[in-house]
Amino acid sequence: MLTESPIIKFQNVDKFYGNFQALTDISIEVHPTERMVICGPSGSGKSTLIRCINGLESHNYGKLIVDGVEIFEGSKDIIRLRQEIGMVFQQFNLFPHLTVLENLTIGPIKVRKISKAEADVTARKYLERVHIPEQAEKYPSELSGGQQQRVAIARSLCMESKILLFDEPTSALDPEMINEVLDVMVELAGTGITMVCVTHEMGFARKVADTMVFMDEGRIIEVAPPDKFFSKPESARCKEFLEQILEH
C-alpha cells in the first residue's frame, strides 16, 4: 500500500524562529493515502512542522518536497500547491463575514475559477458529508464550535485537495463536541485522502492512523505503526508522554 513514491518528503529540515530552533533535522515521508498522526508535548514543534507542508511557515535548511514540488520561501509554486492541500486549524478560522455556503465556495470560485452553480453543488455535497446541510445559509457566529469546525473541514474538502492537514482540530472544542468532529474525520479517513493530523485524541489515532509520530523539542523521536507505538514505544520520553495523556 505504501509503495508509491512519497507525496510529502522532509529531508533534514531545520526551522528557526530568530535564534530559536523550532525544528531540528526532520526527515520523514508521507505516502499517498497514508494517514499520519503526530503527537508530542506542547511547544515540541508539531504546528511548525505541519505548517511547513503548505508553506505557512518556511524552513531554513534541508529539503521539503510536496506533491513533487520543492518548497522554499518565496516559491511561486506554493500558491498553486496550496490548492492541493486543505488545512483545518485549531481555531477554525472561518470567514465571519461570509455565510457557511460562501465560506465553502469562495475558494473554488475565486481560486479554482469554477462557476458559482457548480461550486454550490459541491459545497452542499460536502456539507452533507459533515452532517450539517441545513446550516448553509447561516453565518459562522451562529454555529456551535463543533459545527464551525465541521464547516472548516468541509471548506478544505471543497478544494478537492489531495492532502488534508489538521492542527489540533478538537483542542478548542467543548468536550461534548469533540466526538462529532472526530466522527467526521474518521469517515474522511476511509475515503483514501492523505491525512496528516496533529492531535492528542489517541482513540482517534488508534482507529485511523497508519503511522504514529512522536515529537519532542523540535525533533522526531519515534515513528511507528499504531499497535507498536502504543504497546511498546522505544523511547522513554514517548512512553512517559503516552502514560500521561492516556491516564485521562
Binding site: 503548505n54 508553506g55 505557512l56 500558491i79 498553486r80 496550496r82 490548492q83 492541500i85 486543505g86 488545512m87 486549524f89 481555531q91 478560522n93 472561518l94 470567514f95 465571519p96 463575514h97 469562495i106 475558494g107 475565486k110 481560486v111 479554482r112 453565518y139 457566529s141 472548516a152 471548506r155 478544505s156 478544494m159
Partner: protein
C-alpha cells in the same frame, strides 16, 4: 438589628449620589446654567463691541447668503464659498483616500523599500505644519508643475489627510485576526485575493467610524487654504470684511455655517458608527 452574618439587601434603595450632584445634573438646572454661560459670552462680546463703538449691521448679512433679484432666487457669496468648501473637501477626500490606500499597502507590503517610502512620507507629512504644506504646494510646487491655486489646495489637503487616512486603514487592516490570512492562504488565495475577498470586507467596520471623523476634519481644515486665496467660505468672508468692515457679523455667520455643516456631517457619522460598531 444587623446581627446576622448575611444581611438581606432586598428592597433597599441603591445609594444615591449626593444631593448637590443631583441638583446640578438635573435637566432644568443644566439648561439654566448653559443659557447663563452662553448669555454671558454673547453679552460681553456685545458690550465689548459697543465699547469699541462697533456699528452692528446684521441687516446686511442675508444678502450674502441669498437674494431675490429680477433674475429670481440667487445664492449669495457666502453660499458660493460654502459650495467651494464642500466640493474642495470632497475632491480632496477622494484623492486622500486613494493616496491613503496606496501608502497603507506600501507600508504593509513587507517590501523593504515600500515600507521605507511609506514611513518617510508619513513622517514628512506628520511633522510639517499644515500651513507650511499649503505654502509648499502653492509657492514651490505650483510654479514647478504649473498648476493653479485651486489644484494646489486640493493636492495639499489630500496629501495631509492621506497620511491620517493611511494610518486608519493600516490599523483597520491589522485589526482583522491573523488566522484569516492563514485560512485564506491555505485555500490558495493570493495576497491580492485575500485583501479583496477576506481582509478588506472585514476591516470596513473598523475603519468606517474614524473615516467619517476624517470627513469632518477635512471640512474644517479646508479653511486653511484661504491663505492662498482659494475662493472658499473663509476667503470670501475675509473679502467681504475688507470691503465692508463687518468683521463681527461675518465671522459669527461663518462660524455658524461651518458649525451647521459639521453638525450635520457628525450626525451622519454617528449614524454610520452606530450601524457598524456591532460586535459579531
Amino acid at each position: 438589628m444587623q446581627s446576622g452574618g448575611s444581611i438581606s439587601l432586598k428592597g433597599l434603595p441603591v445609594r444615591q449620589p449626593p444631593a448637590v450632584n443631583r441638583f446640578f445634573s438635573s435637566t432644568p438646572v443644566s439648561l439654566i446654567i448653559y443659557c447663563f454661560i452662553v448669555g454671558v459670552i454673547l453679552y460681553s462680546s456685545f458690550t465689548g463691541a459697543q465699547a469699541m463703538g462697533y456699528n452692528w449691521q446684521w441687516y446686511q448679512i442675508p444678502k450674502y447668503i441669498y437674494s431675490f433679484t429680477d433674475n429670481g432666487f440667487q445664492f449669495g457669496e457666502l453660499m458660493l464659498g460654502l459650495w467651494t468648501t464642500i466640493t474642495l473637501s470632497f475632491t480632496a477626500f477622494v484623492l486622500a483616500l486613494a493616496i491613503g490606500f496606496l501608502v497603507a499597502f506600501l507600508r504593509l507590503s513587507g517590501l523593504f523599500i515600500g515600507t521605507k517610502i511609506a514611513i518617510c512620507f508619513l513622517e514628512f507629512v506628520r511633522n510639517v505644519p499644515l500651513l507650511v504644506l499649503v505654502y509648499l504646494f502653492y509657492y514651490v510646487l505650483g510654479p514647478v508643475f504649473k498648476y493653479d491655486r485651486y489644484t494646489a489646495s486640493i493636492l495639499c489637503l489630500a496629501v495631509y489627510h492621506s497620511a491620517l487616512i493611511s494610518e486608519i486603514l493600516r490599523a483597520a487592516i491589522n485589526s482583522v485576526a491573523k488566522g484569516q490570512w492563514e485560512a485564506a492562504k491555505s485555500i490558495g488565495m493570493t495576497k491580492m485575493q485575500t485583501y479583496r475577498y477576506i481582509i478588506l470586507p472585514q476591516s470596513i467596520r473598523f475603519m468606517l467610524p474614524p473615516m467619517t471623523g476624517e470627513v469632518v476634519h477635512m471640512v474644517k481644515s479646508s479653511a486653511i487654504v484661504s491663505v492662498i486665496a482659494v475662493a472658499e467660505l473663509t476667503t470670501l468672508g475675509q473679502n467681504i470684511i475688507s470691503d465692508t468692515y463687518m468683521a463681527f457679523e461675518i465671522w459669527f455667520t461663518i462660524a455658524l455655517i461651518y458649525m451647521f455643516v459639521i453638525v450635520i456631517l457628525s450626525i451622519g457619522a454617528s449614524q454610520v458608527e452606530r450601524r457598524y460598531t456591532v460586535i459579531n
